[in-house]
């Protein structure tokens, strides 16, 4: 248990890098998307400007205490996920606070921010917020099924839930990555990731014009900036999670950036291609194909040795 200041500062530095990488990645992806549409897209530095602008706004409205704390919860969720997962494989400095738990902790900690955000958004008393949340939760529940199956398949395969052990097992060449050693689990996991990332086609949660962007509909200025900070972090962290699980983790920052970009890109890429799905359809979809693949993956992992 290392609670020293140095550890803290290293983690803070890691967080800072991740935050900026997340922002950069998001503008890059937007530009990629714009290019697909034949546009130029936002400048690369747009996310930073937006963040600065949001902090520069002079109106702070509060619907209640939970409304205020909601974004805090959300960011704690994102930061916590970051802290509970090692950044760089094999590096003591960049291991964060991953000693306090492993994959299971992370899976459940995902929901921590969600619940906090949900409560905050609810406290804004806008029905649109709660409509968005209800959709998000339903979709999340369905996504968790293939996700869990994938995780279990991996846990069976590697006989561990520890990130380090899972990454360690994938060292020594591309072919040792889970995506190759356990393709079915990886497919299930990656399909689940599409839902977890909430990109199109699974973004009805934030349908902009139907329920003016859903849960954060009442959030503005500094609150929104906190949420945006979180989304920058969490996209990277989520990508890193899948990277660690399926793509061998990262032993250098370069690999980290390349791989998270790649993983994140997959979800954006799918989003560019497919239109939005209704919630009941996405629930059905997740409980159908990814789940089927996941079950096969588990069975294969368990009984086909």
């Amino acid at each position: 248990m290392d609670y020293s200041i140095t550890k803290f500062l290293w983690s803070l530095l890691g967080l800072f890098i991740i935050l900026n990488w997340g922002m950069l990645m998001s503008s890059t992806m937007r530009r990629v998307g714009a290019r697909l549409a034949g546009r130029i897209g936002v400048p690369m530095y747009q996310p930073w400007i937006d963040l600065a602008k949001l902090m520069a706004l002079k109106t702070w409205l509060s619907h209640g205490v939970m409304y205020y704390i909601g974004p805090v919860f959300r960011l704690v969720g994102g930061v916590g996920m970051f802290l509970f997962m090692p950044i760089i494989f094999g590096s003591e400095i960049w291991s964060n606070y991953s000693f306090s738990g492993d994959l299971i902790l992370l899976l459940y900690f995902q929901s921590f921010g969600m619940l906090g955000m949900a409560m905050g958004a609810s406290d804004s008393s806008s029905p649109h917020a709660s409509i968005g949340i209800s959709r998000g939760l339903a979709q999340f529940a369905a996504v968790e099924v293939p996700m869990t199956l994938a995780v279990i398949a991996i846990a069976i395969q590697h006989q561990t839930f520890s990130f380090n052990s899972i990454m360690e097992a994938q060292q020594g060449g591309v072919l040792n990555w889970t995506i190759f050693t356990n393709p079915l689990a990886s497919i299930a996991g990656m399909l689940a990731m599409l839902g977890a990332m909430s990109h199109s086609p699974f973004n009805l949660v934030k349908a902009p014009n139907e329920i003016p962007i859903g849960p954060p509909t009442e959030y503005h200025s500094s609150f929104l900036s906190v949420l945006r900070t979180n989304s920058a972090i969490i996209h990277v962290v989520e990508a890193a999670l899948f990277m660690n699980l399926f793509f061998g983790g990262a032993d250098t920052w370069l690999m980290y950036i390349v791989k998270t970009f790649f993983v994140y890109f997959i979800s954006v890429f799918v989003g560019m291609v497919f239109p939005r799905m209704k919630v009941e359809d996405s629930v059905r979809w997740f409980l159908k194909w990814p789940t089927a693949v996941g079950i096969i993956a588990v069975l294969v992992a368990a009984y086909w040795k």
Binding site: M1, M55, K58, T59, S62, G64, V65, M66, Y68, V72, L75, V76, G80, L83, F84, Y97, F99, S100, G101, D102, L103, I104, L105, Y108, F109, S111, F112, M114, L115, A118, M119, S122, D123, S125, P127, S130, I133, S134, R135, A138, F140, A141, V145, T148, I152, I156, T160, F161, S162, P212, S221, S222, S225, V226, V279, E280, V283, R284, G294, A302
Partner: protein, 1045 residues
């Protein structure tokens, strides 16, 4: 000591003497009659006490001065003394009860009455077959006469049918007797028994005729239409006599005469008894007429005793106790019920709610009903327990099963009746017909009620494992019951809490050192005290609440402290009864309490059934026997598991729970949900620990059941609009987790199970207390009618939020401990797919957690809730105590889990989890440091909060309609609150999973049973001739089955 012959002389002399009065001096006559009955009671009573003292031995009374077999002799032994005493007592009280009726009817009726009682005495005492016949006939004719006390046409019809039926069977009896005489040359029963009458074909026929007729006197199903009509048409006072006194005498006669037919005949008597017990009770389920229903029940109960009589060779030394316990129970309870019926004077059971205006009668009524069903502490409980134990020990499993089925069928209508009495509206003019002004009507009822309790107490020494200490809490409850109507709820609450605390203090040493028991004991007792605290918020007297609550907790404590199956079952039934009374207190709880009770009773019987095998294994009732079952272990363990699962509301057996918990009073719900359900878990744990290798398959199946229960419970909760029902379904889901966890039978699984048990106890207590308080405050159960209450009840919100986070299993709160253990356990056990279902259920839990938080506390505040205040401290204090518990568990999980881990290792569940000194828990798969997680999250939270406050300026507080509403403004809070059908999308996608298939399954089952019962009871066509024909058919069928070979 006055000779028993004086009973006859006195009664007859008196009866003849009353003839002198002609039609005059009726009052004096009644007093004379009562004095006579009292004297008869005294005579038999002195004999009984002498026999109990052991100061006398069995007496033979010779008439005419000649020794038997040359003259008629009577016998007075312990049994005879007891039976005559019962009969005379019922006669005396019945006579007292019928005082006015008899007075009105005249001296002739009184003579008939006293002769009836006298004849029953002789029936019991005589040892001469023909003499028996004569006095049976006297009894029949006297009964036929008494049926007419009210001189109604219906009574006349019933009387005629009765006469025809008894006429036919007595003729056949006579044939049997005379041929028995012809074969043996003797009429003395002992001599005939000694002569092996059944040795020849013809002798067997004679014996058959004698026995079958005496069986028919007991009105066996289905040849008993004539008897039922009597019960329905006669004055209830007479019904009491027929059921209690005549029934008792007839049973004794059967017992006396049965050996004539030889050993081989006993099984048929068992069959007759069981068929009667099951059939009569089953048909009774369709009956709405109170007296006729009592008739069905009487016949059923007598059938049970007939079966017991047939089981005499099997039951051995326990026979006398079992038979006597069942008889005395039947006599006291049934007489009491008939008398109440006479006071109530309502034919339809749904009108019996008028009882509520007379608490003493109501309590007596409840005592009688629960005694009849076989609840503790009444004698039939002891009797049935011992009966089932002995039956299974002697490999009579089918008989035991049928007896339990019959008991259950009896429960079906009895509890419907109780529900009607407790919950139906009291019609305004209902009390007019009440006839309880006279002490002589009420007093016998109350005496019976006291007697049946006393008889229960006296049963203790006869049952293996029964201790008088079990009655200590009951005495306290009776005390509370006595002060119930006088004191305000606050005082009673204080007394109850003090009593429970003291009881806990006293009982704790018994289980000290047994960690598993200590945990459950803690949950039950501390939980009990905590859940009683919200009662301080209630005004008024709350009559009936405290005895019921304490009854439940006494039962729970007994379950834990018991070291044998009897004590366990005793506690189990107490708990069931107590919780039933608690649940039925809810406004709309009638149907739900009913289904709760039916499931509970069925479950309890399954448990009893299973315990029988344990008893069989070691020959005593110690709980160790559970591990030794060799006879049909799968069946036994399955029965036990299903029995316990009725209480944990596992899939398929859950349909009672949502209504029962949802509609219960606000402070009852936490008791029955957070605390009570754990009894089932305790039972299952106890069972699993003892199953050994036999249980593999069961555990595997239960694992699946648990997983689907969790999914179904949580999914249903998600689609609920009723706040308390949502919590109730959530309980089903949580109990599904627990079932799944402990079915794994590994250290991790059990540790997860214990974590869930503790967590569920804490958070569900909080939720039900607080939400219950909110439901009361807002005046609605519907979530969508609430909203925005966070500003009114911030403390309540925090409590619910903490509870919900715990429930959802989010780190850093203790709920995550369960999830973490779960993952490890699932992988190590290899139950992957089941595990995934459970995890899916877990994410669904998240949804209803949100729905509840949002619908109650967020969104739009409704207009009529503007003046609401924070909940009463009586609710918040226990809730926050529990929150402190959750917090402690969350920060220092190792403090709680490590000892349990050690316990589980010592139970040979495997040693797969290690604890580091800093709180890091490690398995081969994973590690988790709850302490560290807490520190990191709290620190991060503080920093992020600081950051947010730093970048946020002075906030402007908004009101509920200050929302960006597409440039419009909301109209009404009601239309702006998104709650109803919140997860419509999910419902469209997977809502079909929770279509009420189980409910319709059980509905179909009950409809089928009811239809069947309705069809069967068509045989009671009402035609006396047909009834006589049925008797003949019965004899023929019986003959060809028993002797046709």
């Amino acid at each position: 000591m006055v000779g028993p012959i004086y009973i006859i002389a006195l009664a007859l002399g008196l009866a003849f003497f009353l003839g002198f009065f002609g039609k005059s001096a009726k009052t004096l006559s009644v007093y004379l009659m009562l004095a006579g009955l009292a004297a008869m009671t005294c005579i038999s009573g002195t004999w009984l006490s002498a026999f109990i003292d052991g100061s006398v031995s069995t007496q033979e009374i010779y008439t005419a001065g000649f020794k038997p077999p040359y003259s008629i002799n009577l016998r007075m032994g312990l049994e005879e003394a007891a039976f005559t005493f019962i009969i005379n007592l019922i006669g005396l009280l019945g006579g007292t009860y019928l005082f006015q009726t008899l007075k009105k009817a005249g001296n002739a009726a009184m003579s008939v009455f006293i002769i009836l009682i006298m004849s029953l005495n002789v029936i019991v005492m005589t040892r001469d077959l023909f003499n028996l016949f004569v006095f049976v006939e006297i009894g029949s004719i006297a009964t036929a006469g008494l049926i007419l006390l009210d001189k109604e046409s219906k009574a006349l019809q019933a009387g005629l049918k009765y006469m025809i039926a008894t006429g036919v069977i007595s003729g056949l009896l006579l044939i049997g007797i005379i041929f028995a005489y012809s074969f043996v040359g003797n009429l003395n029963i002992d001599a005939i028994i000694g002569a092996n009458l059944a040795g020849t074909t013809a002798g067997m026929v004679a014996a058959f005729l004698i026995v079958v007729v005496l069986v028919l006197e007991l009105k066996p199903f289905p040849a008993n239409g004539w008897g039922l009509d009597v019960y329905e048409a006669a004055n209830p006072g007479v019904g009491a006599l027929v059921s209690a006194a005549i029934g008792t005498a007839s049973l004794f006669v059967l017992h006396k005469v049965l050996p004539m037919a030889g050993e081989s005949f006993y099984p048929y008597i068992v069959a007759v008894g069981v068929i009667t017990f099951v059939g009569s009770n089953l048909v009774g389920t369709q009956q709405k007429n109170a007296n006729r229903l009592l008739g069905y029940s009487s016949i059923g109960q007598l059938g049970l005793v007939v079966a017991v009589i047939g089981l005499e060779p099997v039951l051995g030394t326990s026979f006398k106790f079992i038979a006597f316990a069942l008889i005395i129970n039947h006599v006291l309870a049934k007489a009491g019920l008939f008398w109440i019926s006479g006071i109530i004077r309502k034919a339809n059971i749904s009108e019996w709610s008028v009882l509520r205006t007379k608490p003493a009668l109501l309590i007596s009524f409840l005592i009688f009903i629960f005694a009849l069903i076989g609840f503790p502490p009444f004698p039939s409980f002891f009797g049935k327990y011992q009966l089932i134990m002995n039956l299974i020990s002697s490999d009579n499993i089918g008989t035991a099963a049928f007896i339990l089925i019959g008991s259950f069928a009896e429960g079906i209508y009895m509890f419907r009746w109780v529900g009607d009495a407790l919950k139906n509206e009291v019609a305004e003019d209902a009390t007019e017909s009440l006839d309880c002004g006279k002490l002589n009507k009420v007093l016998p009822v109350l005496l019976m009620a006291v007697a049946v309790v006393a008889a229960g107490y006296l049963s203790i020494p006869f049952v293996d494992g029964a201790y008088s200490t079990y009655f200590i809490p009951l005495a306290f409850i009776m005390f509370i019951g006595l002060i119930d109507s006088f004191l305000p709820a606050v005082v009673k609450n204080v007394v109850s809490i003090a009593g429970m605390a003291y009881f806990t203090y006293v009982m704790y040493p018994i289980i000290e050192g047994d960690l598993m028991r200590s945990i459950f004991f803690g949950i039950f007792m501390i939980g009990g005290i905590l859940t009683l605290i919200p009662g301080f918020a209630k005004k008024g007297k709350r009559e009936g609440f405290y005895p019921a609550a304490l009854l439940m907790y006494a039962g729970l404590a007994t379950i834990i402290t018991a070291d044998n199956t009897f004590g366990f079952f005793f506690g189990w039934e107490l708990m069931t009864a107590g919780s039933y009374f608690l649940i039925i207190r809810g406004k709309r709880s009638k149907a739900h309490a009913y289904s709760y009770m039916l499931f509970s009773v069925a479950g309890a019987y399954l448990i009893l059934f299973g315990f029988g095998f344990a008893y069989q294994a070691i020959g005593s009732s110690l709980l160790e026997g559970l591990g030794e079952i060799k006879l049909l272990p799968t069946l036994a363990y399955t029965a036990l598991a299903i029995g316990f699962m009725t209480k944990t509301a596992s899939l398929g057996l859950h349909i009672w729970l949502p209504g029962a918990h949802g509609e219960a009073e606000s402070d009852v719900s936490p008791m029955v949900s957070a605390v009570l359900l754990k009894a089932g878990v305790f039972g299952l744990m106890l069972l699993f620990l003892n199953m050994g290798d036999n249980g593999e398959t069961i555990l595997y199946v239960l694992g699946w059941v648990g997983a689907f229960t969790a999914l179904m419970g949580n999914l249903s909760a998600t689609f609920q609009e009723d706040a308390k029902r949502m919590l109730a379904y959530s309980s089903i889901g949580q109990l599904g987790y627990i079932l799944f966890a402990i079915s794994m039978m590994t250290t991790l699984g059990w540790l997860a199970g214990f974590t869930y048990v503790l967590n569920h106890f804490m958070f569900k207590s909080i939720l039900f207390m607080v939400v219950g308080g909110i439901v009361v405050a807002t005046g609605t159960h519907d979530l969508y009618r609430m909203g925005g209450l966070i500003k009114k009840m911030p403390l309540a919100f925090i409590a619910v939020m903490v509870a919900m986070i715990t429930m959802a299993g989010l780190p850093p709160l203790s709920g995550f401990a369960g999830k973490w253990l779960f993952y490890n356990a699932v992988i190590l056990k290899g139950w992957y797919i089941q595990g995934v279902i459970v995890f899916f259920a877990g994410t669904i839990a998240f949804m209803y957690a949100y729905k509840m938080l949002h619908s109650i506390f967020f969104g739009q505040l409704k207009d009529n809730h503007r003046n609401l205040k924070e909940l009463s401290p009586a609710i918040l204090i226990p809730a926050y105590i529990l929150i402190a518990g959750i917090m402690y568990f969350s920060v220092f999980p190792q403090d709680v889990l490590q000892p349990i881990n050690e316990l589980l290792v010592s139970l040979n569940l495997g040693d797969t989890l290690t604890w580091a000194a800093d709180g890091n828990a490690t398995t081969v798969l994973s590690n988790w440091n709850g302490n560290a997680v807490m520190i990191i999250i709290v620190t991060t939270f503080a920093l992020v909060l600081l950051y947010t406050m730093l970048i946020t300026g002075k906030t402007k507080k908004l009101e509920q309609f200050n929302i960006a509403y597409s440039a419009e403004r909301p109209f009404r809070p009601e239309t702006t609150h998104y709650s109803h059908n919140m997860f419509a999308g999910l419902n469209k996608a997977i809502g079909f999973l929770v279509a009420p298939g189980i409910t319709s399954f059980w509905n179909n089952v009950s409809t089928m049973v009811m239809d069947f019962a309705g069809m069967v009871r068509r045989i009671y066509s009402g035609n006396g001739q047909v009834y006589a024909g049925q008797i003949i058919v019965y004899i023929i069928v019986f003959y060809f089955i028993a002797l046709g070979k």
